[in-house]
C-alpha cells in the first residue's frame, strides 16, 4: 500500500486536498503531532496522510480578552510559550508530551492532571473550523467566551477522532497563570488522595500512583494555598515533576474512565503488580499493560459494568485486534452513524479507527 503524504500550507489547500481525495474515494488519515497515533483501532485503509504541520500559526491572541485563535497544527508547547509572554496559559497537560498539536488534542480529547480544576478542552474551546470531505470549511462558535449562536459544533468534533472532518483552526478561552502554584507529595495512596480531595480548597491536580505515591497541586491565592498545604502536612515537591509526569507513554497502555466513586475499586482490581496512575477527582486512570489480552478484556468488562470504559491508547496490532480498541459500542451508535454519514458519506475519514 502506497501512502501519499500531503502537508498543505493553508486551510483552503487542506480542504481542497481532502475533497480531491474524497472524490477519488481515497482513505484519509489526518496527522498532527502523531502523539496519539496509537489510539483507537488500526485504520482499515490509509491512502493519504494529511499532515497539519504547516498550519502552525497563532492567528490572534488578545491578552485583554483572554482569547486565543490558532491553526490546528501548532504544538501545545509553542502555544504555551506564546501565551506565557502574557502570563497566560491553556490548562491542558496531556500524557505522551511534548509534541501534541492542538488539532490532535481536540480530535482525541486527551487530557491530563489539570483537568480536575479546569475541565477538559471541551470546556474552554469556544470556536472551531473544520474541513469536510466535500471540500467545505465550516466554522462553529466564535471568538467570544460565551456564545449560544447556533449549534455547539465544537462538541461535535471534540473527541470524534477526525471522523466527521479535519480540524483546521480553533479558538480558546485562556487562563491567567495562577498567582501561586505549589506541589506536595505523600506516599499514602488512595486514603491520602481522599484527604486532599476534602481540603477546603480543592487541589488543581491530584494524581495517585500504583506505588502509593500521591501528587497534589494547589493553585490560587498565596494565603489559601499555604494554609491548605500546611494542614495537609505533605512533603514539598518540585514543579518540574509535572513535566516529567506528562512524558509518560507506555508502549502498551489503556485509559480507564469511570464514575469518580467507582474508580478506586476498578484500579485496585487491576492485575497484581500492575503499573498505573489515576486522577481520582476526575474519574480517569491510565494503565501500563503488562498482562495478556484476556485480562484487559476482564478489566474492560468491570469498567463497563460500572458505567465506564476502557480505551486502548497504544498496543501492537495483534494485541489490539484481540482486545478491540473501544469496547462495547454505545447504545446510541445508530445516531452516531447517521451523523457520520451526514458529514462523511463515503467513509473516507479515518476508516476503522473510531467507533463510527
Amino acid at each position: 500500500m502506497v501512502v501519499t503524504q500531503e502537508a498543505p500550507r493553508t486551510a483552503d489547500e487542506l480542504a481542497t486536498t481532502l475533497r480531491e481525495a474524497a472524490q477519488a474515494k481515497l482513505a484519509v488519515v489526518a496527522v498532527g503531532g502523531g502523539r496519539a497515533q496509537g489510539m483507537g483501532g488500526a485504520p482499515s485503509r490509509c491512502d493519504v496522510e494529511l499532515h497539519t504541520t504547516h498550519l502552525d500559526r497563532v492567528l490572534e491572541h488578545s491578552q485583554a480578552d483572554m482569547v486565543v485563535s490558532v491553526e490546528a497544527g501548532i504544538t501545545l508547547e509553542a502555544l504555551q510559550e506564546h501565551l506565557a509572554r502574557d502570563r497566560q496559559f491553556l490548562p491542558v497537560d496531556p500524557f505522551n508530551s511534548p509534541g501534541h498539536t492542538i488539532g490532535g488534542l481536540l480530535a482525541t480529547g486527551w487530557t491530563g492532571p489539570l483537568r480536575f480544576r479546569f475541565g477538559s478542552a471541551r470546556d474552554f474551546l469556544i470556536g472551531i473550523r473544520v474541513a469536510t470531505p466535500d471540500g467545505k470549511l465550516a466554522t462553529g462558535g466564535g471568538r467570544v467566551v460565551k456564545n449560544v449562536s447556533g449549534y455547539d459544533m465544537m462538541k461535535l468534533h471534540y473527541g470524534a477522532l477526525g471522523s466527521l472532518g479535519v480540524i483546521v483552526a480553533a479558538s480558546f478561552k485562556v487562563f491567567p497563570r495562577p498567582l501561586h502554584d505549589v506541589t506536595v507529595t505523600s506516599d499514602g495512596g488512595w486514603d491520602d488522595a481522599d484527604r486532599a480531595l476534602a481540603t477546603p480548597v480543592a487541589p488543581s491536580a491530584l494524581e495517585v500512583f500504583s506505588d502509593g505515591r500521591v501528587l497534589a497541586r494547589y493553585t490560587g491565592s498565596r494565603d489559601a494555598v499555604e494554609r491548605v498545604v500546611k494542614e495537609l502536612g505533605w512533603t514539598a515537591e518540585e514543579q518540574s515533576i509535572w513535566d516529567r509526569h506528562a512524558r509518560r507513554a507506555p508502549a502498551r497502555w489503556a485509559r480507564i474512565a469511570a464514575p469518580r466513586t467507582e474508580l478506586r475499586r476498578l484500579v485496585e482490581d487491576l492485575p497484581r503488580g500492575a503499573g498505573w496512575w489515576a486522577s481520582p477527582g476526575v474519574g480517569v486512570a491510565h494503565w501500563a499493560i503488562a498482562s495478556d489480552a484476556r485480562s484487559v478484556k476482564e478489566v474492560r468488562q468491570r469498567a463497563e459494568a460500572a458505567g465506564g470504559s476502557l480505551v486502548m491508547l497504544a498496543a501492537p496490532d495483534d494485541f489490539l485486534r484481540e482486545v478491540g480498541a473501544w469496547g462495547t459500542p454505545p447504545a446510541t451508535i445508530e445516531i452516531m452513524r447517521n451523523l457520520k454519514r451526514a458529514f462523511d458519506p463515503d467513509g473516507v475519514l479515518n476508516p476503522g479507527r473510531f467507533v463510527v
Binding site: 485563535s69 497566560q88 447556533g150 459544533m153 462538541k155 464514575p259 447504545a331 447517521n338 463510527v356
Partner: protein
C-alpha cells in the same frame, strides 16, 4: 386548530384534562419572555417520559410541529409556537429524582426550577452553578435546551459545562440516554450537541447535572464609576491583572435608578455605572482577591467601594441585580432585551454605539449585564400599547446587534437565537457554516417537526436587511 381525532389521540396519552385546545386557555401559552407571540393549536401537559415519547410519535405521524416548553421565561422566542402545532409543556415533570452527595451529581426532571435544585442540595453543602437571573422561575430543562448562563458563569461556566447526561426524546418518539456521569465516554458527544439546541433537535426528559461544593467564603463588593466607559475599562483591568472573579456585573445609571427606587439596596444613584463583583473560595483567598480587585478598581476611577458585611447585605445587592429587569417597569411597562456578546475589550465601543442607537430612536435604554464575559444586555424600554413604537424597538435592537457583530462579537451569549435572531445568523456564519448545522438538524429531525422557524435564517419570516449605521468596519472573520 387540530382535527379532533388527533386531539382525541393526544388525550388518550395524557388524559382529557391535560390537553388544552380552548382558544382562551391557549392564550396563556402564546408567549415566552420575548416580545413576539403565536398561539399553539394545542398544549399537552406531559407528566412522564412516556407521555413525551407518545405525543412525539403522534406528532410525527401527522407532521405536526412540536415545541417543548418549560416555564416560558426564555428571551429569544424559543418557546413560541410560531408555526402552530403542539406546545409540549413539561413543567409537571418536576421531581428531583436523585441527589448523590458523594459523586456530587443530581438527576432531575426538566420541569425542576433552577433555584429549587440549589436550595434542595444546600443541605449537602452543594449548589448548582448556572444561575440565570430568572432562576426563581426558569426550569433546568429550559436551561439545558438554551445552554443558559447567568452572572456566575464568568468563573463557573455555562449550562453545558454542568450537564453530565440527558434522557432525550427524538422527533420519531424514540427515547435515548446521551452521556452520563463518566468522563471520556466512547463515541460522539451527543449530549454536547443537544445542549443548547433550543428544542430543535430533541425534547429533554431527564438531566443529570454536576453539583459543586458551596465555597466556605463569599465576598461581594459594589463600586461606583463616573461612566460606563470607565467601568468597562476597570473590568478589563481586573481580568487583565489575571483575576477571574466568580461574577463581575455592570449596571448603568438608568438601571441603578430603577433598582434603587425598588430595592433600596444602597446603590449609588449619582454614579454613571456600578459594578458588582463577587469572589469566592476560602476566607484567605477572598480577602486577598478582594483587596487586589479593590486596588484595581480604585486605580480605574472606581469610588464608593462597599463590601457586603453580612449575608443579608449580600442578598440585597444581588436582589437588585437579579431583579433589575423587573424594576425597569418603573420607567416603561415593556422591555426588549438583546444579549449580544463582544470581546471584553470592546465593551466601551459597543456600549457607546448602543447609547447612540437609543438616542437616535428616542428610546430609553438600560444596560445591566455580565461585563466580565463581554455579554451585554441592553434593555430597550417602551410601551407596547403604542403600536407605532414596536417597529422602532425592533429596528433599534437589530442595529445594536449589528454593532456587536461589527466588533467581532456573537448574536447571543446565553439567551439563544430562537425566533428573534434567526434572520441574523448569516451575519456571523457563512452558508457552509450553517450547512454543517443543517446536517445535524437533518440527522435528528429529518421531517422538521421540532421547533420549526428557529435558529436557521432560511426559516425566518423576516427578511434580513443589513442596515449598518455605526460606520464601524466589519472585521474579518477570526481566521
Amino acid at each position: 386548530m387540530l382535527p379532533s381525532p388527533i386531539v382525541e389521540e393526544l388525550r388518550g396519552v395524557v388524559g382529557r384534562e391535560s390537553v388544552i385546545v380552548s382558544p382562551n386557555d391557549l392564550r396563556i401559552f402564546e408567549r415566552d419572555g420575548s416580545i413576539e407571540g403565536a398561539l399553539p393549536d394545542a398544549v399537552v401537559l406531559a407528566s412522564t417520559t412516556e407521555h413525551v415519547a407518545e405525543v412525539m410519535k403522534i406528532a410525527a405521524r401527522h407532521k405536526i410541529p412540536v415545541v417543548p416548553r418549560g416555564a416560558g421565561t426564555g428571551l429569544s422566542g424559543g418557546a413560541v409556537t410560531i408555526r402552530g402545532g403542539i406546545a409540549l409543556q413539561v413543567t409537571r415533570m418536576r421531581r428531583i429524582l436523585e441527589v448523590d452527595p458523594v459523586a456530587q451529581t443530581a438527576l432531575v426532571e426538566p420541569g425542576v426550577v433552577n433555584q429549587e435544585l440549589s436550595l434542595v442540595v444546600a443541605q449537602h453543602g452543594l449548589f448548582y452553578a448556572p444561575d440565570p437571573s430568572s432562576q426563581k422561575a426558569c426550569t433546568i430543562g429550559g436551561n439545558a435546551a438554551e445552554n443558559s448562563g447567568g452572572p456566575h458563569c464568568l468563573y463557573y461556566g455555562v449550562t453545558t459545562n454542568h450537564v453530565l447526561g440527558m434522557e432525550v426524546v427524538l422527533a420519531d418518539g424514540s427515547v435515548h440516554w446521551v452521556s452520563g456521569d463518566t468522563p471520556d465516554r466512547t463515541g460522539l458527544d451527543l449530549c454536547g450537541i443537544l445542549v443548547g439546541s433550543e428544542g430543535t433537535l430533541c425534547a429533554i426528559t431527564k438531566i443529570k447535572v454536576r453539583l459543586l461544593r458551596i465555597p466556605p467564603s463569599i465576598s461581594t463588593m459594589l463600586a461606583a464609576f463616573p461612566s460606563i466607559e470607565t467601568a468597562s475599562q476597570a473590568v478589563s483591568a481586573v481580568i487583565g491583572r489575571g483575576i477571574v472573579p466568580a461574577a463581575l456585573e455592570m449596571m448603568d445609571s438608568v438601571t441603578v435608578g430603577a433598582v434603587e427606587a425598588h430595592y433600596h439596596a444602597g446603590y449609588p444613584t449619582d454614579a454613571g455605572a456600578v459594578l458588582l463583583v463577587e469572589v469566592d473560595g476560602t476566607a484567605e483567598s477572598t480577602r486577598e482577591l478582594m483587596a487586589a480587585i479593590g486596588k484595581v478598581l480604585d486605580e480605574n476611577h472606581g469610588y464608593g467601594l462597599r463590601e457586603a458585611q453580612t449575608p443579608a447585605e449580600r442578598e440585597l445587592l444581588w436582589a437588585g441585580r437579579k431583579g433589575a429587569i423587573g424594576a425597569l417597569g418603573r420607567i416603561k411597562p415593556n422591555y426588549y432585551l438583546h444579549d449580544g456578546v463582544v470581546p471584553r475589550s470592546r465593551l466601551p465601543q459597543v456600549l457607546s454605539a448602543v447609547g447612540e442607537i437609543g438616542e437616535h430612536y428616542k428610546l430609553p435604554v438600560a444596560n445591566v449585564f455580565h461585563a466580565g464575559d463581554g455579554n451585554l444586555h441592553p434593555n430597550i424600554l417602551f410601551d407596547m400599547r403604542d403600536k407605532e413604537v414596536l417597529h422602532q424597538v425592533e429596528s433599534a435592537g437589530e442595529e445594536m446587534l449589528r454593532a456587536v457583530v461589527e466588533l467581532g462579537g456573537a448574536l447571543s451569549g446565553e439567551h439563544g437565537i430562537g425566533l428573534e435572531k434567526a434572520a441574523f445568523m448569516s451575519w456571523i456564519y457563512s452558508e457552509d457554516d450553517l450547512g454543517a448545522m443543517h446536517r445535524v438538524k437533518d440527522v435528528f429531525d429529518p421531517t422538521g417537526i421540532l421547533n420549526p422557524g428557529k435558529i436557521f435564517p432560511d426559516d425566518a419570516r423576516r427578511t434580513v436587511h443589513l442596515a449598518g449605521r455605526t460606520g464601524l468596519a466589519v472585521e474579518a472573520k477570526w481566521w
